[in-house]
Structures are given as C-alpha cells and as structure tokens.
Symmetry: C2
Subunit: 162 residues, 2 copies
Amino acid sequence: MMRKSIKGRAAPEDLPAALHRLETLCRERGQRLTRQRRAVVRQLLAADRALSAYELLERLRPEDGRATAASIYRTLDFLMELGVVHRLESKRSFILCRHPQAPHRVQFLICRSCGEVIEAEDARLAAATERLGDRLGFALDQRIVELTGLCGRCRTREAGPS
Amino acid sequence: MMRKSIKGRAAPEDLPAALHRLETLCRERGQRLTRQRRAVVRQLLAADRALSAYELLERLRPEDGRATAASIYRTLDFLMELGVVHRLESKRSFILCRHPQAPHRVQFLICRSCGEVIEAEDARLAAATERLGDRLGFALDQRIVELTGLCGRCRTREAGPS
DNA sequence: GGCGGAATTGATACAAAGTATCATCAGGTG
DNA sequence: CACCTGATGATACTTTGTATCAATTCCGCC
C-alpha cells in the first residue's frame, strides 16, 4: 500500500483526482471543461516536473496534432486563474499545483541540478511578505517566491565523489 | 539642499557615485571597465525604473549605434554578477541596485499600475526564506521575491475618482 | 605614450517565448 | 438536438534571449 510519495513531501494527486478537481472548479465558476484543459492537466501531472509551454505543446501533439502555442498559453492562463497550475517565473515554465485544497500563498524551491520543484506553504514566510507589503503601503495581489539552489540529494551527490 | 528623494525611501545614487562604485568593483575583481558597462549603468540610473533589455538597447543607440542585443545581455549578466543590477523575473526587465553598500537579500515590490519598483531589504523575510531552505534541505544560491500590487499612491488614486 | 593579448564587443543568424486577429468549432444549457 | 457563447485553430507576428566567430578595446606593462 502507498507506493508513491517516497519523498516524504506532499503526494501528487492521481489523475482522476486532478481531473475531478478541475471539473468541480469549472462548474463552480460556470466555466467550460474542455478537452484541451483536461489534456494539459493530464500532461503536467504525467511529467511530474515543470514544463515550458512549448514542451507541453510537444507532449500534446500525439493526442492533439492541431494544438498551437496560442491556445496552450490561453489554457495555461485559464488554469492559473483557477489555481490549478502555477507559473515558475524564473524558469519560464508551468507546474501543476500541489496544494489543491485551498487558496494559498506558496513558495517554490527549485533544484538547479536535478530540476526538482518543491511547492512549499510556509506560514511564517507568507506572513512576512504580507507585513512587508503593508509596511510599504502596497495592496498585494501576487506574491512570487522562488528559491533556487541544490536540493539535499544533489548536495550530497556533488559533495561525495571520491 | 537635498532636492531628490522626495519619496521617503532610499535615495538613488547620483551618476558619479554609481560609476565610481562600478569602477571599484571592477578593480577589486580584476574585471574590465568598458564603455558599454558604464553606459548601461548610466541609462538604468537615468531611467529610474526597470527597463527591458531591448528598451535599454534603444536608449543606448543614440550614443552607441552599434550596440546589439547580444552584447546588452552580456553586459547585464556581468553587472548582475557584480550585484550592480537586478533582474525582475516577473517583468523580464532590469533595474539598478539601490542597496549598493553590501551583499544583500532583497525583495521587490512592483506596482502594476504605475510600474514603480521598490527594492526592500527586510531581514525577517530574508530570515524566513533561509529557514525554509534549511528545513527542506536546500543550499540556496538565489532568492527571488517579487510582490506585485498597487502602491499607496495608485491605491488612493484608483479609489478616489468621484 | 605605445604594445601586446586576453577579454569584450560587433555582426549575423537563429531559437525560444509569447501575443493578436479572425475564422471555425464544440460544451453545455434549454 | 439545436443554439450560441466561449474556446480553439490557423496564421502571422513581436519580444526575449543565445550561439558563433571576427573585429576591437581595455589595461598592465615597458
């Protein structure tokens, strides 16, 4: 039992769960659930890493030879609006949200060696960003926190060669 | 006396100070101080806002008709390495560093209405990012914090029209 | 002040990322 | 199952960023 999630952090949703969430959100907001929206979620889940819009496009080609960059970007915009997809600004790429449950203030940790992306939800860090916004009189509507470095595994691997 | 810096936040350096800093840093590191490097610093200071690489290129044209995108990007990379220029990932643009004194963990607040960019240096927020990195086993080498919203002035302006 | 040579820039071409426009198609309501 | 609005397709284009190699320039040294 429980073969996934070896890593100790949030287990990825499986495909039915992800699609069901998408469907629910679309209904709630009276938005259409289209073939392409489902396909993008499916591919991002299958990739299990951040993909650029054009990488995503390539992966959609086998099942939908007529997809174009323009529509991929529209679909990604839509999914980001729903909160189902996040954009990694520093990598110009997109990743499936790992905290499906609620609205959230997330932070990303990105390993520059293996490319792993961890989506964190650190309350203290989130609170600190809000305070800073307040202090400087800003009404924030977007908080980008992307921390890049070496993940634990890559760190030991890079240190370790004899 | 003291006519600049009406805004109550860090006064921008003047041009001689900025160029002098650039010169010092180049000497210290045995790097060349070139015409283009000076010109980029001068234009970013004059703009007093974030510029895209191509905006910068246009502004360099009058004084250097042969500058190209490639060399602008190389120069910007160099200046970022020195810590003299920062890149705003979420705006794909570049801005002069406002905290010349030392190595730093900065955060940006960006007004989506007027485009103003404030470079903050909030110790608590910085500490929270470090803790998060530690907690997840990351050796961080880059911290991107970009908070977007409405600045105080734009907020009152947008609220206020009769 | 001029020389030498590595570092920087110039020129060119190209790749990658993202957007605008308008015609066509399809999701979901009745 | 027809309708019609919102989504996608097709196409062309803009913006952003990089690779390569030749020409130039900075700067330590004499």
